[in-house]
Structure formats: C-alpha cells, structure tokens
C-alpha cells in the first residue's frame, strides 16, 4: 500500500514545515529590506542573513548534519523552499555554491574537499561564483579556451584566461570552473574542473553593470594563477563529465525549487484581484494570461514532485532537465508579463514604488531564457535526446 500515489504531505513533513515557518517568521528580515545583493553592502547583509540561517541549521537543510544540514530529504527541502519564498525571505547569496557546486562536491569531491569547503559554504563564510562562460564560449561550453598548464614541482596548475557572466563574481571568495588542461584534445575533452580562491595572485575581477544599472555579474581574468592539485575536482581531464553529470543527474539537490514561481503566481493572483476593483477592463483583458501563468507555476510544482518521486525511487534526470529549464524560464516570464500588463502604464515605474518588484522581477526573468544554456540549446537537447532527431 505504500506504493499508492499520495500527494499529501505526511504529519512529519507538516511538523517540519511548521518548524521552518515559525523560525522564518521570527528571523526573516522584512521583505526587500536588505540592500541589493549586487552592492558591497548588500552582499555582506545577505551573507549575515545566511549565517543566521546556518546558526540554526536552516541554510542547507538537505545536507548531512556533519556539514551543517539537517539531513532531510528532497521533499522536505521543497517544503522548506515553499516556506522560504512564502516568507519573502532574501535571495540566497550562496546559491551558486549551495545549489550548483555542492551537488558536484557530494558526487565527485574527496573527503578532504568536502570537509574543507562544505561547512564554509553552508555558513556563507565563503561565497562561490561560477566560471563557466567565456567571451567566445557562451552557449558553446565546449569551446572553452582558458587553459591550465602544469606547474611541475609545485603540485599544481597555472591558470590563464578569461571567464565572464560570473554572478556575484565581484564579491565572491571562491570560483569554480572549467579550464583546458590538454590543449591538443578536441572541444569537450581535455577540460578540468578547478576550485580557485579569488584572492590568489593573478586573479583580476571586472564588474559588469547590467541592464538595470546594478552589478549582477563580473568578468574574471586569470593570469598564471596557481591552483594546487587538491583543488582539482573529479580528476584531471574529466571536467566535462563532472560538470555534465551534475547538471544531468542533479541528485535532486539542485532542482530549481518551484516555490519561487508558485509564490510569485500567488502574488499575481492577488494583483489581479486588486485590479478587478481598480481597473476592471484591464483586469478582464489580462485574465487569460494571469490564469495561464498561475497554471504554469502549478504545472512546474507538480512536475517537480513527479521528478522528485522518480529520483527518490532511484531514477535519474536526463534530458528532462532541458525541458525543465525551458518551462521555468518561460513560466517566470509569463508571470511577470501578466503582472506588467495588469499594471499598465505603471509598469515602467522603477524605484521605491510598491510595484517596482514586478519590473525588477521581469528584468531578471528576461535573463532566464539566456543563462544556464540558452533555450535554443535546450530545445536542441530535447529534440535530439528525447525525440531522437539527428544532430543536424
């Protein structure tokens, strides 16, 4: 009977939810009260918040207790996320590390690496940025040119090249990324996954102001940056496999949580209900789009539970990750477009007005179909790996 479908949370899960909810109610700063993540001041304020979470073991609930987590499962993590977004808690300054690097460390890291890096990551003492893209290798990750040459005698490597679009790169302490260790090898062969301390001599950071004027990401220049062997993750020359295996299997831990979208969709419905009073004709014209956006978020939530159940039963996530990326990025846009349509002429207000979050959210959502592999690339993956179409 335990194999029957059941979409209800268990009493234990509900207890966990209530514990999280009451902790968040007591500790979460007021919505949007922290300075922007993309300023030095805001970065530290967000770090402080994550340290507060860490102190009470809420920063990485799904990690083993030895690294600062609670050892809960993926479903509990999803519940925590629901509460986190419902509380309108701050954006996670640690997200690149916690959601992208950590699963890789769990799968490919040595025991020393885990002990060295995970607790510092969980407590936000060390914030990570990612060094994937290069100026001429955006969606074409296999086109990476930054290289690492052996520094014989020093038990390490000298890294040279340039990475770009590193979110939080302006302030992060550490960077993870791929470098070419075998210049002879073709494209995705000969790459190695490195962990690099940003304070190492030879690392230069140039912040890149983004469309809203804030400094969301940075270019990172490497010039003979020494990285010891202990900071190679998963073996020399295996970088592509390490990066892709994590992206693919996800281990459940780096699934993009639906709570962010269901929370925004719920605010969208509130905005619609409000507009029904103040601008009924405009609200009526937006009704279909509002409903669709809400449903898109709901579909994402259900698809995540569906996938999570599969992962918990030993299944893996393959090209579905690409379908997922397409869906969440389009959902995020659908939610924010519908909201801006409801706001009408007020959509352009930018600043401290009460509805500015929708515009900010829209600008952020616009990047969704671009980063983490453009949606064009993801559609290629879906067509080739789910439908077996030729590579063309």
């Amino acid at each position: 009977m335990d194999t029957t479908m059941d979409l209800r949370t268990t009493p234990a899960q509900e207890a966990f939810r209530l514990e999280a909810r009451s902790w968040l109610a007591a500790h979460t700063p007021p919505p949007r009260s922290l300075p922007s993540l993309d300023t030095a001041e805001g970065f530290e304020a967000h770090r402080q918040w994550e340290q507060t979470m860490f102190d009470d073991r809420w920063s990485v609930v799904s990690w083993p207790e030895e690294f600062g987590g609670r050892g809960v499962g993926i479903l509990e993590w999803l519940i925590f996320e629901e509460e986190y977004w419902r509380a309108q808690a701050p954006l996670r300054v640690s997200q690149n590390g916690v959601f992208l690097l950590a699963p890789t460390l769990f799968e490919f890291g040595t025991e020393e690496q885990r002990a060295r890096f995970l607790p510092a990551m969980a407590s936000a003492r060390e914030i990570w940025c990612q060094g994937w893209s290069e100026p001429d290798a955006g969606s074409d990750l296999a086109g990476i040119r930054s290289r690492a040459v052996r520094s014989e005698g020093d038990d390490g490597w000298l890294l040279t090249g340039q990475k770009t679009w590193a979110s939080r790169g302006a302030f992060a302490e550490w960077c993870f990324g791929l470098f070419r260790t075998d210049p002879e090898a073709e494209r995705h062969r000969g790459l190695t996954y490195f962990l690099i301390e940003m304070s190492t001599p030879g690392v230069t950071v140039r912040p890149i102001p983004q469309i809203d004027g804030e400094t969301g990401f940075a270019e990172i220049f490497f010039e003979d940056v020494f990285v010891p062997d202990g900071q190679v993750l998963g073996g020399v020359g295996r970088g592509w496999n390490v990066a892709m295996a994590t992206a693919g299997s996800e281990r459940g831990l780096s699934l993009r949580s639906p709570a962010r979208y269901t929370e925004a969709a719920s605010r969208l419905v509130d905005l619609y209900a409000h507009s029904l009073q103040t601008e009924p004709a405009r609200a009526a014209r937006s009704a279909d789009a509002v409903a669709q956006a809400w449903m898109d978020a709901e579909a994402y939530r259900l698809n995540t539970l569906w996938t999570a159940t599969r992962v918990l039963s030993g299944g893996s996530v393959g090209p579905e990750a690409s379908a997922n990326k397409i869906h969440w990025s389009e959902t995020d846009l659908a939610i924010h477009r519908a909201a801006l349509a409801l706001l009408g002429p007020e959509a352009e207000f930018h600043g401290d007005g009460v509805d500015a979050p929708w515009l900010d959210g829209y600008l952020f959502a616009l990047a969704g179909p671009i980063y983490a592999g453009t949606n064009e690339i993801q559609r290629n993956v879906v067509a080739e790996r789910m439908l077996g179409l030729p590579r063309g």
């Binding site: 335990d2 194999t3 029957t4 479908m5 059941d6 979409l7 209800r8 949370t9 268990t10 899960q13 479903l75 419905v269 619609y272 209900a273 029904l276 009704a287 279909d288 509002v290 409903a291 669709q292 809400w294 449903m295 709901e298 579909a299 994402y300 259900l302 698809n303 539970l305 569906w306 999570a308 159940t309 599969r310 039963s313 579905e320 379908a323 397409i326 869906h327 064009e376 993801q378 559609r379 290629n380 879906v382 067509a383 080739e384 789910m386 439908l387 077996g388 179409l389 030729p390 590579r391 063309g392």
Partner: protein
C-alpha cells in the same frame, strides 16, 4: 508524499497498451471511419480484461477502482485514438450510476446497490461488455452528444420547472432503444454525434434537485479530466509520428529533423506534453480523494492537455508538410480526434477562466 503510479497500475497500462497496439491499429481506425460503432470485438476484449468495468462495483462485475487507476488506460485509449466510448462509459457513466445508487433519490429508478435495480442491471451489462453509454445535456441549444449515435444507454441531464418556477436539474437514465437519435456529422465520424429525440419521464429519472446538480458537476469534472487523459495519449502519438517522419524525410540533402526549425517545433510540443502529464495525473488523484480543490486541478489538467494537443497537432502537420494533409497518411486520424477533444467538456480558455474565478473567490 509520493507522486507515482503503483507497479500494478503501470503493469495494467502496459497490458492494455499491448492489446491496443494489436487491436486498434490505424487500419482498424479506418474501418471504424467507414462504419462507426459503439461496440466492437475490441470492446469485448477490453471488457474481458476488466477495463470497461474498471470503475464498477465488484458485485456488478467490475473491479471497483477509481480515476487514478483509469487515467493511464484513457491515455492509452488516446494513444491509439480508440473509437469506442471508454471515456463516456467507464470514466463517466459508471461512477455516476454507482454514486447515485446510494442517494435515495425519491422517485428515482436507480438502484445500482441492489442487483435488481435498473441502474444495477446497466452496470452488470457494462462490465460484461454488452452496453456502451453516452452522456450529455438536453436543452433547446445544447450541442449534439458525443457517442449518442449507436449507444445502448444514454444518461441525459435536463432541467425541469418546479412548482415555484425555479429550474430543477435532473438526471435521467434512458434506454436508447426507446428514443430516436438524429445524427450530426463530425469531422471525426467515430465521434458518433447525435441528438436524442426524447422527453423526460418519471420512470427514467435517476435523480433531481441538489443530488442531480452535484452528480452533474462531478460528471463534468470526471469527463474533463478523462478527456485530458486521452489528449495526452493523442499528443504523444502525434509527436512520435512527426519525429519519425522527420528522421526519414530528406530535403536539401538531409533529414528535415536535422533542421533547427523542425527540431524546435517538436521540442516545444514535447515540453508541453512533459508538463501536461503530471498535471493530469494529479487531478485524477484529487478527484478520487475528494480533495477540496479537485475541480481546479481538473480545470488545470484539461486546459494544459487541450493546449498541448492543439500545439502538437499544429506542429505535427507542419512537420509532415503536404503528406500530412492527405487521407493516406495516418496523421489525420489523430488530428481530428485531438481537435474535437480539445474543445469537448470545456475548452482550454473556459477552464482557465474557471481556475482564475476559483482562485479569486478563494475557493
């Protein structure tokens, strides 16, 4: 919390898939186009497997199972564009008869709980594969009823006028032998559209008033959800056919499936299908469990499934090009069913409206 089917459910699905792959080929479909019928040897096979009586109580020869058990089988029915009325009979009429048996509706004829009652006899007949049903509303401007032409049993919803002039909903159980059916042509002849010529009588009334209203509401939910499930199967078939064709068809010196434009059309349809599926399954669970937001889940499911099917139909036809526009190519058998079902039991936009109205009302 566990969002997956049981092994038993997927095994039953696999068994039905295997049977339908043999007994409901596109040759069979073309034969059904020529002579549409409510029942067929295939229907008998499905009854013998327990599929037709799946939702009927065990003491009426059924398996006593619910929508969650049926939803995967409806998906299989959609995959092969099954022409028989599994949806109307097993997903809609049987649960309605089973439920109304206990309603104690005064003056009603249904007594499915006792084997002697009229409703009970119909249930026995359904589970045995001898009865195919259809369900619909009779009013001055109601559309024809799908499956009415050739059905053995009709469940008809009507409105009577009470003494105080108020409209009272009623559910009637009508032997098709006692009525004449005017047929209406559908683009898909296996839809067997018909308008029964019939006037309500006391001895056909199964329920009225609040009981009937609730039964009609639940019927609409079950029918919309089941239509969504069939659309999933149709969608997958259309995508698969188009992908296979795209691998074989060469233009400009290579398979058209290698062109990004074709890839992206199919990928877009596939993503919609991937996301429609859990939405439909969750709605089936919510209906069985009587969850408070079950109707909203159903509307989300139908809207998602309708849109996925409409998009897959568009894409599949575009990928096939002129070939897909011919009678020879099997694609049209699936397109026509998909177009009809996308509108049946509420279009996508109608269900979106229902979802939003419910959300705003806090329902």
């Amino acid at each position: 919390m566990r969002f997956a089917f049981s092994d038993q459910q997927t095994e039953f699905r696999d068994a039905v898939r295997q049977v339908l792959a043999k007994e409901c080929t596109t040759d069979h479909l073309r034969a059904a186009y020529e002579e549409p019928a409510a029942r067929s040897p295939r229907w008998t096979t499905l009854a013998e497997m327990g599929v037709v009586g799946l939702t009927a109580p065990e003491d009426h020869g059924g398996l006593g199972l619910g929508m969650l058990d049926l939803v995967l089988l409806l998906e299989e029915a959609g995959r092969v564009a099954l022409p028989e009325p599994l949806l109307e009979t097993t997903a809609v009429v049987v649960p309605l008869l089973s439920e109304l048996g206990g309603s104690g509706d005064p003056g009603g004829v249904g007594d499915p709980g006792g084997s002697g009652g009229v409703g009970g006899a119909w249930l026995d007949g359904i589970a045995a594969g001898d009865v195919a049903a259809a369900v619909g509303t009779i009013s001055t401007d109601s559309p024809p009823i799908a499956g009415a032409d050739g059905a053995d049993l009709l469940v008809l919803f009507t409105t009577a006028e009470a003494g105080d002039g108020e409209a009272v909903p009623e559910v009637h159980l009508v032997d098709s032998a006692s009525v004449t059916i005017r047929t209406v042509a559908s683009l898909d002849p296996t839809r067997r559209l018909g308008i029964p010529h019939w006037t309500p009588k006391d001895d056909t009334r199964l329920a009225s008033g609040a009981t009937a209203r609730e039964a009609i509401r639940r019927t609409a939910d079950r029918a919309a959800l089941s239509t969504g499930a069939e659309l999933l199967g149709l969608t997958e078939s259309m995508i698969t056919m188009a992908a296979e064709y795209a691998k074989e068809r060469n233009q400009f010196g290579k398979p058209i499936g290698g062109f990004q434009a074709v890839k992206h059309l199919l990928a877009g349809a596939q993503v919609k299908l991937e996301f429609a599926r859990p939405v439909v399954y969750a709605a089936a669970w919510a209906l069985d469990e009587g969850e408070p937001h079950a109707s909203r889940s159903v509307s989300t499911a139908k809207a998602y499934a309708s849109d996925a099917a409409t998009e897959a139909a568009r894409v599949a036809l575009q990928v096939h090009g002129a070939i897909g526009y011919t009678w020879e190519c099997d694609l049209h058998l699936f397109l026509k069913r998909a177009w009809a079902l996308a509108e049946a039991w509420g279009s996508a936009s109608e269900h979106r409206q229902r979802v939003l109205d419910g959300l705003v009302a806090g329902a």
